[in-house]
């Protein structure tokens, strides 16, 4: 590539060279044919004039040494060897009668192997024959003589002899596959000596060894020698590398001092002299190939000792070439001075034609340096401008000098293939005098025009030549060929060429070598090595290392900034650190996760151990939790505060509550569920005993008993299935019946449903079995069969319950007689609760009686009580939410004690009612009629409880019977006597009358002066007590024995509710109905198994009691909180209605129509309500949206607080107040009209 390009660049030069070569006559074949020199025929050769044309055609003329030789072409031309030629020469010379001395002097160089340099010089100079000195002419003649064919000597006989060394071709060549080259790694190569000795080394080593042997030392083996040389090489490489690093920066700002350009192409790089640091382009200095090792400019190479001066200009420094006569000239000068040219256009040397420069040129005075007669100047190319200047001066001054490549001019083979123009300062084209970039941009390549560069590259030599090379340790010189500086120059060379190796390194090198008299030898070896390197121009002896170095250098040159490199390293290091940290973080994260898991495991383990050690405790605990959940109002959660109800302990000897149960539980006081159940029942019975039936607490207790019973049953079953050891509270070794729990088939249920199948069982047992089955069935997956069976079971349970009740009432009757004497003793016997509770019962009634002396069976007894209750209720307000429990309990206590008699007829009535209701209900009649009338012994608490009441109530029942002229007693007795056969028809009428007839009396009484909240109690206390009690009992029974009768009761109530309004058109059926409704509602509930009638007052939306017109209710419309409203009979007369003298608004027609439509749509009954809002709006609402108002204070309060927004709450409040006012009005009216029960208002 490079070559091609160069050729392409300078075709003219090549052509010129060719021509010259021919001209010189060095090519033997061409020149021989033209004019073969045949000296011995010279004499024979005829003169040209005598030759005929034909002869002339066959003759070759050779002009040799001024004489013309003619050689016939037919003559055979002999081949002569050098020796023959030599001999011939001598002969010839002798024959030519030349000086024999000359011959000898000439013969000597001929024998020696010619020095290549000398040869080159001679051959170069040979073309200038005319100017040769005598000795040179001899050489010339010698060269020419070599071309003389020596006819006299015969052709040389080839001589050879057969060597008897074994032929290496014995072994057949191996296939290529066997040869494999494994390149050694750098480390491996570092370990072994790569250097190979050459003859010189061998000779030296032999010499040294001879000396050593003579001195009595062991000789040094060639291996050691090689190793040491190798090490030295390595050290030098290292050394030079470090030097190179420091030097590399120097070279950067360099430009070629010939063309003053710093352009550096691949094919035309800038070279630096290793000594004088001269920078030249390859092409500008004629270095077609970059040499290995060091490169020296010509003057450093050939005249290292003295600075050279240009023959053509007075300036020093710059790129020199030798002229053909051995002097020196600048390359630039040679280029610019027209008469001068280069002999070889590739190597650009030697400079020729200095002699041809006309003297006029020598005489020109350079206008720049003002020196005359020193060097040859050129003149401004501008026409008529004769200013002269030295080329180098012009360069220095930055004159305009331009070389245009003009190739076509080089047809005739002249050196001037380019057009050169140089102008003096005055005539420089615009812009060129500013030695800036402008000229280059305009005119392309310029030589000169860059003053500062030129100035830097030249120094003026002759008068006071401060050469540019002085930094290299040169001395100033005055004469052109002074020899003064020689030594210094020389000494500078090796220092630069061969890096010095510090002595400590040297010592290190020889550590591993065992040689006697080591130091001396190493010193010698080092010197030898230095000399050898010098002799090789500083070329490394081991190539690989050098190229290695180059590679290193290139790599390093990539990052000349060491700091940057270090920073990079550092960055890499930190990034690595970052990765490590990331890994650490990962690890720690794992640790964290693991520890969290361990913690979880620990917790689980604890739970597991707990389960293992105290499974019973856990079961009981969960059971207790469930029980507590059922006690939503938290009536039972804490012990009764004796400070609030000081007389509590008078009635209850063993108070119990959930918290103390829990404490006992935690203290491991319970071993099994039965223990827990015992306490639970105690708690409930306590409550039931202390609180009157009408109180919320009583109801709550009843409800809790129902719900809790289920929970306990479940717990019991669980305990059984788990297999708990009651003594340890731990699991039994083997769980007894894993599959028994909640596993039953439809067959079991069906068989149980068949009354005949359980004939052998007592009613209590039957009930239990039925309940269990019900639980099981309820726990099954829902399906058609399940719901059906649940219904059947419920019905069955109901019948059994009723049977039980009946039997109980029967029992009660039987015991009645004794009861009259015993009083409360019955309680003791009959109490289903723990025996402990009986004493309490025993105790309580008397005390209460003492406080309420009126224990007479007469209904008149009741009146004294209300005040007490009133007080109580008042007191109960104050303690807030929890206190009500207590106060109610207390209230409860008063009726239970003081009203034992009234309880009695309630019981009578109650026993009657269910039966009657059953009869009433058409749907259930078939199933109910066959209900077994077996007398159940009262096992269940509920039953006993009722029986107790029943016993107590018998007096009251009688009284009630007397007073109300009812047939109840008859009915009950009948029922009792009849036992199984008690016909419903008989019972039914009485009960109806019982329900309807007693109602009127209480109603007036109940509207006490107090507001609604006291209504419940007041009704209790009044003469209607029997009735209300009846109701309550009825419903409790219903709850206990359950189900079925619900809907009939509801319908019953409907019946009841319908009559009242007509009956007492201005009466207050609402109040009278309250208990009834509740009764109905609560009885309805069992169907849903959510036996919350007791807690209905406390549970927001539970009350399903039938509502009668003019009742005050909380009505819940969607999107609004519960709002006080009044139920209005839609069938009321259109002309209006007065309720206790208070006018009731008449519903508009469209409202009525809407109600009808709505009822039709939904299929259920809707009540027409009138809100107590300012607009008195109407609404139709289903039953479940209505809640009796005034049943319980807390409920009302809850309702009042229901609104989320304060404004809404306020409006509810006002509506409530309005409702209260309405109620008061109504009541007052009643009071005014009916002085029915003045006792109320004492």
């Amino acid at each position: 590539m490079r070559r091609l390009r160069r050729r392409g660049c300078r075709p003219g030069v090549v052509g010129l060279e060719m021509g010259r070569g021919r001209g010189r006559g060095r090519g033997r074949d061409s020149s021989v044919q033209l004019r073969p020199p045949s000296p011995y025929r010279l004499q024979l050769s005829p003169s040209r004039e005598t030759l005929t044309y034909a002869q002339a055609q066959k003759m070759v003329e050779v002009d040799l040494d001024g004489r013309l030789h003619r050689i016939s072409i037919t003559d055979p031309l002999p081949v002569i060897t050098e020796d023959e030629m030599m001999a011939q020469d001598i002969v010839e010379c002798n024959s030519n009668k030349e000086n024999s001395e000359q011959t000898q002097s000439r013969a000597r160089p001929g024998r020696k192997p010619p020095n290549p340099k000398g040869r080159r010089r001679e051959s170069k100079t040979s073309s200038h024959q005319s100017r040769r000195s005598g000795s040179q002419q001899y050489t010339q003649s010698h060269t020419n003589s070599s071309q003389h064919p020596s006819h006299q000597s015969p052709l040389p006989e080839p001589t050879f002899r057969v060597l008897d060394c074994p032929c290496p071709l014995d072994t057949p060549p191996l296939p290529v596959a066997y040869y494999r080259f494994v390149e050694k790694s750098g480390e491996e190569q570092d370990c072994e000596a790569e250097y190979d000795m050459d003859e010189e080394d061998l000779a030296w080593l032999e010499m040294v060894n001879q000396k050593r042997v003579s001195d009595g030392h062991a000789s040094v083996s060639p291996d050691t020698f090689e190793l040491l040389i190798d090490r030295l090489e390595r050290e030098s490489i290292l050394e030079s590398r470090s030097q190179a690093l420091s030097q590399s920066a120097i070279d950067e700002d360099a430009f070629c001092c010939v063309c003053l350009d710093d352009e550096c192409l691949n094919s035309n790089v800038i070279l630096f002299c290793d000594i004088c640091n001269l920078a030249v382009h390859q092409e500008c200095y004629g270095v077609p190939y970059i040499p290995e090792g060091q490169w020296l400019c010509r003057c450093c190479l050939q005249s290292p000792s003295r600075p050279v001066d240009c023959v053509l200009c007075p300036n020093r420094g710059g790129a020199f070439k030798q002229t053909s006569d051995g002097r020196w000239a600048h390359v630039v000068c040679a280029i610019w001075i027209p008469e001068v040219c280069f002999a070889n256009m590739v190597f650009l040397e030697p400079v020729e034609g200095v002699k041809n420069i006309p003297s006029a040129r020598w005489k020109l005075t350079c206008y720049l340096c003002k020196q005359k007669g020193r060097g040859a100047s050129i003149q401004c190319h501008k026409a008529n401008c004769y200013r002269a200047f030295h080329v180098s001066c012009a360069q220095k001054a930055g004159l305009f000098m331009k070389i245009d490549p003009v190739r076509e001019t080089g047809v005739n083979g002249t050196t001037f293939s380019v057009k050169k123009t140089a102008f003096c300062e005055n005539h420089s084209p615009v812009g060129s005098r500013r030695d800036g970039s402008g000229d280059e941009a305009v005119e392309g390549r310029l030589v000169g025009g860059r003053g500062n560069r030129g100035q830097r590259s030249y120094t003026q030599s002759p008068p006071a030549p401060p050469s540019k090379k002085t930094p290299k340790g040169q001395k100033k010189k005055k004469g052109k060929k002074s020899l003064a500086g020689q030594t210094t120059r020389r000494s500078a060379v090796p220092v630069l060429l061969v890096p010095q190796i510090p002595s400590h390194r040297l010592n290190k090198i020889c550590i591993g070598v065992a040689v006697q008299r080591k130091n001396q030898f190493i010193q010698r070896l080092h010197n030898y090595w230095l000399l050898k390197r010098q002799s090789r121009n500083g070329m490394p002896l081991i190539r690989r290392l050098h190229s290695h170095l180059q590679a290193h250098k290139t790599a390093e040159q990539r990052e000349p900034d060491e700091k940057l490199c270090a920073a990079r390293e550092e960055l890499r290091y930190w990034q690595k650190l970052r990765q490590d940290l990331e890994r650490a973080r990962l690890l720690v994260e794992l640790v964290r996760k693991r520890e969290r898991l361990k913690r979880e495991q620990m917790k689980l383990q604890q739970a597991a151990l707990e389960l293992k050690l105290t499974p019973a405790l856990i079961l009981l605990r969960s059971t207790l939790d469930q029980l507590q959940e059922k006690d939503a109002a938290q009536i039972f959660s804490q012990p009764v505060n004796l400070a609030e109800v000081p007389d509590y302990l008078e009635f209850i000897s063993k108070p119990m509550d959930l918290s103390s149960m829990r404490a006992k539980l935690e203290a491991h006081a319970y071993c099994s569920t039965t223990d827990l159940e015992g306490d639970f029942n105690l708690m409930v019975s306590n409550c039931l005993r202390y609180n009157s039936k009408e109180t919320a607490f009583h109801r709550a207790a009843l409800h809790l008993r129902e719900v809790g019973g289920a929970v306990l049953r479940h717990a019991h079953r669980q305990a059984q299935s788990i297999g708990l050891d009651p003594s340890t509270g731990m699991h039994l070794p083997d769980s007894p019946n894993k599959h028994g729990f909640y596993q039953c088939t439809w067959e079991d249920v069906d068989s149980l449903l068949d009354p005949d199948n359980r004939l052998h069982l007592s009613t209590e047992e039957q009930l239990k079995a039925l309940l269990e089955k019900l639980d099981m069935v309820a726990s099954m997956r829902s399906s058609g069969g399940r719901t059906k069976r649940i219904r059947l079971l419920r019905r069955e349970i109901n019948t059994v319950t009723h049977k039980q009740q009946r039997s109980q009432s029967h029992n009660g009757k039987e015991e009645e007689e004794e009861e009259e004497e015993n009083g409360k003793k019955d309680n003791v016997e009959n109490s289903p609760l723990t025996s402990a509770s009986t004493p309490g019962k025993d105790a309580s009634p008397p005390t209460l009686e003492s406080s309420c002396p009126a224990s007479s069976p007469l209904p008149g007894d009741a009146p004294p009580e209300p005040p007490v209750l009133g007080l109580v209720t008042a007191g109960r307000r104050s303690p807030g939410r929890r206190s009500p429990g207590r106060s109610y309990k207390r209230q409860r206590s008063s009726p239970s004690g003081g009203k034992g008699q009234s309880d009695d007829d309630a019981e009578v009535e109650e026993t009657a009612t269910p039966c009657k209701q059953k009869e009433d209900s058409e749907k259930f009649s078939p199933s109910q009629t066959p209900s077994p009338p077996t007398n159940a012994c009262p096992l269940i608490g509920v039953g006993r409880r009722t029986s107790v009441l029943f016993k107590k109530a018998k007096n009251g029942a009688r009284l009630a019977k007397i007073r109300a002229a009812q047939l109840q007693y008859v009915g009950t007795t009948e029922g009792k006597t009849n036992g199984l056969d008690s016909s419903p028809t008989i019972i039914k009428p009485p009960s109806e009358t019982a329900l309807s007839t007693p109602a009127p009396p209480p109603t007036p009484s109940s509207p006490s002066s107090h507001c609604l909240r006291s209504r419940g109690p007041s009704s209790d206390s009044e003469g209607d007590k029997p009735l209300s009690l009846v109701k309550v009992e009825g419903f409790t029974n219903g709850l206990g024995k359950h189900k079925d009768d619900s809907s009939d009761i509801a319908s019953n109530d409907q019946k009841h509710s319908v009559p009242p309004p007509p009956k007492r058109s201005r009466g207050k059926p609402a109040l009278a109905k309250v208990p009834e409704n509740q009764n109905g509602g609560s009885v309805q509930h069992p169907t849903s198994l959510c036996l919350c009638s007791g807690g209905s007052m406390l549970l927001p939306f539970d009350s399903d009691t039938e509502l009668t017109p003019l009742d005050l209710v909380w009505a819940k419309c969607r999107g609004y909180p519960s709002y006080p409203a009044m139920v209005v009979d839609p069938d009321m007369p259109q002309e209006g209605l007065l309720h206790n003298g208070i006018p009731i608004p008449v519903p508009p027609g469209d409202v009525l129509k809407l109600g009808e439509r709505r009822q039709k749509e939904t299929g259920e009954r809707h009540y027409l309500v009138l809100f107590f809002d300012t607009k008195r709006t109407w609404q139709w609402l289903p039953r479940d949206k209505l809640l009796q108002m005034g049943m319980d204070d807390t409920v009302d309060k809850l309702r009042l607080m229901e609104g989320k927004k304060p404004s809404v709450r306020k409006s509810v409040h006002t509506a409530y107040d309005r409702a209260m006012i309405h109620l008061n009005h109504v009541i007052n009216h009643v009071k005014g009209n009916l002085t029915f029960n003045p006792s109320n208002f004492i």
Binding site: I270, A279, R558, A567, W574, L586, K593, E595, A667, H668
Partner: protein, 240 residues
């Protein structure tokens, strides 16, 4: 000019290994104690089982309380361990975050430095002369040329190198972190049980079993305001 990262980091990365070591030792200590307690508990439990029949209820309670207290001790230890682990994590995390910040700074400075040194280097000189384009073009091949004719002495040629220093240095950096070998034990997170990547969000339930979620897996694009609970914890909460 010479930027040293240690300047940034001298703050305590040297102590990190020590602290880690200490924390882990502590953790191990706690672990040992927990194990001891567990053994104790086992013994107690066995004792209880064997003698429960003869124990009065108070004794039982007492015994169980002993077990209970041992467990609470264990729990304490566990809590401590978790706390410690979390602390350790925070510590490492803090260091990492600081290192990240410092690295970013360092890289920036390095970049700047590269630019600066670029002006000082050979071609920087050329650029100063104002013939950037042409010179650069001329120099490009020169470098290659020297490489091919490699057998010359150090100072043979004009050494004008134009290696893209910055281009050589910078691409290495981003890839480095990504190239980290995948740890097979890397903890997994999220509903998808993948290793963490991209933006993650932490459940605000301290007892969340998963803790961290990929944004994409929980249908998030941006960080939600206020507290955020993972789908599971939300469900659990609703149940409660």
């Amino acid at each position: 000019m010479a930027v040293t990262l240690p300047r940034f980091l001298r703050g305590g990365i040297e102590n990190l290994p020590c602290e880690l070591q200490r924390n882990f030792t502590l953790m191990r200590d706690l672990d040992n104690r927990t194990e001891e307690k567990k053994g104790e508990i086992d013994k107690l439990a066995e004792e209880y089982i064997s003698s429960v029949r003869n124990l009065a209820s108070e004794q039982r309670v007492e015994h169980l309380q002993k077990i209970q207290s041992a467990y609470s001790k264990c729990k304490e230890f566990s809590d401590d361990k978790v706390q410690l682990a979390m602390q350790t994590y925070e510590m490492v995390d803090k260091h990492i975050r600081r290192l990240d910040a410092d690295l970013a700074r360092f890289e920036n400075e390095l970049k700047e430095k590269l630019e600066v040194s670029g002006y000082e280097s050979p071609e920087g000189r050329g650029l100063k002369k104002g013939e950037g384009q042409g010179l650069r073009e001329k120099r490009g091949p020169k470098g290659r040329g020297r490489k091919s004719s490699d057998e010359d002495s150090p100072r043979k040629k004009k050494l004008k190198n134009s290696p893209g220093l910055s281009s050589a240095l910078l691409p290495m950096q981003p890839s480095d972190v990504l190239d980290m070998p995948v740890d097979p034990n890397e903890p997994t997170y999220c509903l998808c049980h993948q290793v963490s990547y991209g933006e993650m969000i932490g459940c605000d339930n301290p007892d969340c079993p998963i803790e961290w979620f990929h944004f994409a897996c929980v249908d998030l694009a941006t960080k939600p305001k206020g507290k955020w609970f993972c789908p599971r914890c939300t469900q659990d909460k609703k149940k409660k």
